[in-house]
Amino acid sequence: MKKVFKVVVIAAMAAAFVIAALFFFKLMPGQELGPITGRSPEAELEGPRVIDLYFADADGRRLALEAREVTTQSVEESIHQAIRELIAGPRKESLSSTVPEGVGIRSVYYRDDIAYIDLTPNISSSHPGGSWAELLTVYSIINTVTENFSEVRKVQILLGGREHETLAGHIDISRPLPGRVQLLAGDW
């Protein structure tokens, strides 16, 4: 009887030790217990896909959609292509550009859910100015990225490789920002 008791106690202690060890290793910081799941930035996209570009309506009150096909492979290249199309302007007469002519894309990169869109600084001097026009410019870029590329949660707009407080003196772009689809209805 005593022997059985002893065995049970030893077994219980061993089990407790194993459980404790498991907890210990699981709670250790920096331990990676498995491969990181999720899509890498270099994940390949399949063939051409249709995306919605965010332009402005004629009255400059709200954002409005126009479809385009993008064909490139990586997320970064696709975003680059989408922004290039956005800068080129709408095809519909009823829509208005949101990015001034002559603005170039310095680079597009993507890291930790955030897409960085680095534009040439002449966007500041060539922008018409006006609070709402600037808001539409900023969010036509941000929405075009966040609403078409589910990998991207926020967009950081850079000018000449640097963060700026605003694009043309009004709207805050100092940090990564999420999209605002409500602007399709003219609401902030």
Binding site: G60, T98, P128, G129, G130, W132, E165, H170, D172, W188
Partner: protein, 414 residues
């Protein structure tokens, strides 16, 4: 076995030594009586101008305090928890949440003080008991042990933040009564300047010149006809940073901040008037950011590299407590401007305008017409037209001031 906790309900009566709340404003003590005989809350709360000495709160509720090296943060620690106050800020931070006081925590004549509503907004978090203030009976009811709750907001309630401020149990208006004398200092902000031209009209009119001219006209009108002190963020054609403009308003303890801009659009046909106030949404302040505030404020993290981020978040939140008032003022400006100028009403809008962030008073931005519209550009260049716009803005400010005095608006000091 049923364990009976003693019902620790303390009824603490404020006895106004001077008898009248009007006199209380000019500086008086309040005796804190403990009728039930439980607990150790007794002493004096010194009230001056609707504010309470930190020292007297500490003594009355047996709190511990610690001040950081820079002297700009005060931690109050009691049996129920702690909270942090930041000098010059109206925020009370505790347990990952924040509440907004009607006035900032500040040092006046060498004494640290908070507005009265700290008793209901901050104190519960420290003593772990609910605190209710009954203005009618001039009493402060300190509730049962464990009932203390911090009336803060968390990230997913930020969209309803404005209603939280209005829902406050304690109504500070009762203390301030009708002593509000209206606007004293108005800061006008002529947009752009120097290297920042702002919008440019087809014939070369620059927004920065136009808005400076209108601002100067408005300044004269306000000083002569309304008798308020007016400070311009720039008085000539030079560049002033956006944060600097707000800082000028804060440093002058302005009651009102009006940024004056001229509008532009991609299409030349667009015209009309727009008035803005700052937007806030849950996406502006996310849970992770609030967590950082919490960690910083409660001293959990010591990473100094993140301090600028906290500063930025607090700066962004400064306008939050005035947002209702900013909306009210924006509506007044828009309504008066559209009516006076018989122009197209493009509405009052909210947007993340950098120049309004950090303003510790009601703040709006007005767009006085589209310089990108050729016929509007011609008008905007005329001196008489600029006079009319300045007069319309003057009318809006003086009407807002009338409402402040009549108690229909809250202003900077509600």
């Amino acid at each position: 076995m049923r364990r009976i906790y003693p019902a620790v309900i303390l009824l603490v009566i404020f006895t106004f030594l001077t008898g009248s709340p009007t006199q209380a404003r000019t500086g008086s003590s309040i005796t804190l009586k403990n009728l039930s005989g439980f607990g150790n809350h007794s002493g004096f709360l010194n009230i001056d101008g609707g504010r309470i000495d930190i020292d007297s709160i500490v003594k009355a509720f047996s709190l511990r305090t610690s001040v950081d090296i820079m002297g700009d943060r005060l931690d109050l620690v009691g049996d129920g928890g702690s909270c942090r106050l930041l000098l010059g800020s109206s925020l009370v931070l505790s347990k990952g949440l924040f509440a907004v006081l009607t006035e900032p925590f500040d040092t006046i004549d060498g004494k640290m003080s908070v507005p009265l509503d700290f008793l209901t907004k901050g104190l519960p978090a420290i003593i772990g008991k609910s605190v209710a203030m009954d203005r009618e009976r001039q009493s402060l009811t300190v509730g049962p042990v464990g009932s203390g709750s911090f009336q803060g907001v968390n990230a997913d309630r930020l969209d309803r933040y404005a209603s939280f401020i209005q829902r406050d149990q304690f109504e500070p208006q009762a203390i301030e009564e009708s002593s509000y004398e209206g606007l004293r200092v108005v800061v006008l902000d002529p947009g752009h300047g120097g290297r920042s031209d702002g919008a440019r009209g087809g014939t070369g009119t620059l927004e920065k010149d136009l808005v400076l001219s209108v601002s100067q006209k408005l300044k004269n009108m306000l000083e002569e006809d309304l008798g308020v002190k007016v400070v311009l963020t720039r008085t000539a054609d030079y560049y002033v940073g956006l944060k600097e403009r707000t800082a000028i308003a804060n440093n002058n303890r302005a009651d009102l901040f009006l940024s004056i801009h001229a509008n532009a659009a991609f299409r030349k046909t667009v015209q009309g008037y727009e008035t803005y106030y700052l937007s806030f949404s849950a996406s502006d302040l996310e849970a992770s950011q609030l967590a950082q505030i919490e960690n910083k404020a409660l001293g959990v993290e010591g990473d100094a590299r993140e301090a600028p981020l906290l500063e930025a978040i607090l700066w962004d939140m400064a306008q939050l407590e005035f947002i209702n008032e900013s909306g009210r003022f924006a509506n007044q400006v828009q309504e008066t401007l559209v009516r006076s100028m018989k122009g197209k009403d493009r509405g009052v809008r909210q947007a993340p305008l950098a120049v309004l962030m950090g303003a510790r008073m009601p703040a709006t931005l007005v767009e006085i017409g589209f310089i990108s519209n050729p016929s509007q550009e011609i008008k905007l260049n005329r001196d008489a037209h600029q006079d009319r716009i300045a007069r319309a803005l003057f009318d809006a400010i003086s009407e807002y001031n009338r409402k402040l005095i009549r108690g229909e608006a809250g202003g900077r000091r509600p």
